[in-house]
């Protein structure tokens, strides 16, 4: 099934996410067809594909907002295909949204506290967790502000902070770099990679800016026409004739 598994650096690590033969139909429209891939613990994986390839649908299925028509999703060895979104979050499967979705009437601190108080394992203090997240994302000065008073880059950092607060093993980012300047995006990437390194969080990034992805991930899964057409390291994917033909076209230099 996984032609790229043998090339994975984290080969020996546990399987964090196992997507098996997932399909999703909307009436007559096939949004996903027989999609399978695994993500190992500690990996930083990129999921790319043109608009309409099925990235968002796949994202919603994995995070529990939409049931698949067929197939299954396992998280650290447990089938979670039918688990509701909030249960997945409590077990450490975390996500952000393509368009930042914060609790607009609440302060930054409260936004993070909601998640921390839901998802903290027994015996840990929510207050400490919120403080640690605020300091990690350098949001202390903004803690009492409302989201509407923040810059887009800060709003995205709050959303990631809320996403990982409490308990996080797998972080799924939906186009987190879009709308940011080059510097802001680089900054955010550094912070995400730091989460991966220091907290051991597995990361899945959905993105369409290929140059951004190539620089941060050690593996790419390419979605095209509702199915996976390539799975491997960025270099492998960039040189894959199927990908070049189907998706990158003449723009394969974008990856370099």
């Amino acid at each position: 099934m996984m032609q790229a598994a043998s090339t994975m650096p984290a080969q020996a690590a546990a399987v964090a996410l196992d997507v098996k033969n997932v399909a999703r139909h909307f009436g007559g429209l096939v949004a996903l067809r027989d999609v399978s891939f695994t993500v190992r613990e500690g990996e930083v994986m990129g999921l790319i594909g043109p608009n309409g390839a099925g990235k968002s649908t796949l994202f919603e299925i994995i995070s529990g907002n939409m049931p698949p028509t067929k197939g299954s999703v396992s998280y650290f060895g447990e089938d979670c295909t039918n688990a509701p979104a909030y249960m997945r979050r409590r077990s450490g499967m975390c996500r952000t949204f393509q368009k930042v979705r914060l609790f607009e009437s609440m302060t930054v601190e409260q936004n993070i506290r909601v998640a921390a108080s839901q998802c903290l394992p027994e015996g840990r203090n929510a207050h400490d967790e919120v403080a640690s997240i605020l300091s990690q994302f350098r949001l202390e000065a903004q803690a009492q502000r409302r989201p509407s008073e923040l810059t887009l880059a800060d709003r995205k950092r709050v959303e990631i902070g809320r996403a990982i607060a409490g308990h996080c093993r797998l972080l799924m980012l939906d186009e987190s770099m879009s709308g940011l300047t080059h510097d802001e995006a680089n900054h955010l990437i550094t912070e995400i990679l730091a989460l991966n390194r220091t907290r051991g969080i597995t990361v899945i990034v959905v993105e369409h800016v290929l140059s951004v992805l190539a620089a941060m991930v050690n593996r790419l899964v390419v979605l095209h026409n509702a199915t996976v057409i390539a799975d491997g390291t960025p270099t492998q994917v960039a040189n894959d004739p199927v990908v070049i033909e189907a998706y990158l076209g003449t723009k394969q230099k974008a990856l370099k």
Partner: protein, 334 residues
Amino acid sequence: MNTSAPSMTASQDNGGQTRALLFALLPVAAVAILPLLPFVNDYIIAATVRALIFISLGQAWNVVAGIGGLLSLGHGVFLGLGCYTTGILFNHYGIPPWIGVWAGAGMAAIFALVMGSMTLRMRGVFFALATVAMSLAMVQLTRHFVDLTGGSDGLALKFNGNSWWAMQARTPMPFLYGGLVLVIVFYAITRWILGSKLGLEMQAVRDDETAAAAAGVSVFRTKLTGLMLSAVMTAVAGTLYMQFYMAIDPDAAFGLSQAIQLQLPALLGGLGTAWGPIVGGALMIFLSEVTNLGATKLEINGLDILVYGIMLLFVVLRAPKGIVGFFMDRRRGR
């Protein structure tokens, strides 16, 4: 410091808290000494009791709609359950309202549980419509069980004169203090909710259900808890309503104009704030009394409804966060 702002507990300083406490005690003291004032008669006391009752009903609705963001248009169901349960238990079985109030609250909780389980998975407008349907169903039910409820004529409490046991009085004064205590208790409950984990969850669900689930909040359970809490509070206020007015009928409990009166205090005063329903409810009854007087003098029927409408229009257009929200925003400098 925004001490009167919702859920600002983390940022309150001591000076601000003291000021807020004084600010809160002022209206309490004003209501408490009302009967001692020379110009105050039973008419004014009764109007104040009406205000307190509608404030407490508004506080209850504010929990589900203001903090929880669930547009329950059929909250009269829970008011009716409180009134009818207390009244039926007293008239038919001689059970005093001191016990009836808890029976009514229990009925409301069970009804909210059943109704919530059926409707709370629906989104927005469908939930609102379902609550309206529930109200209409309750009208038919009360009319059907004529022996118990008195049907369309309504249910009048058997009058016992001044009686602690029956929670009845010839003058409105005891209800002034009963209503005051209820409003204070409901205010404390609102503040507690706003600062609690449940309150954060409810506000998160109100702001964005999908994001709340992505933060680990069980959206359905949070909504259900909020609805049940609000239903219980409404039914308890309903008992006070019943003891004060001494009668209830299907229209007064489940009718459209009652449903609107339950929502106005929070809408006028400020949804989701602890002070909103208090300010809004006081204003609503004040306006209703003044316009009633005006309507009688000028012989214009329905002047009060017109004034409500104009007030609501003003709030919607100029102060969508209500009076309290409007001033809070100004203090925040926006």
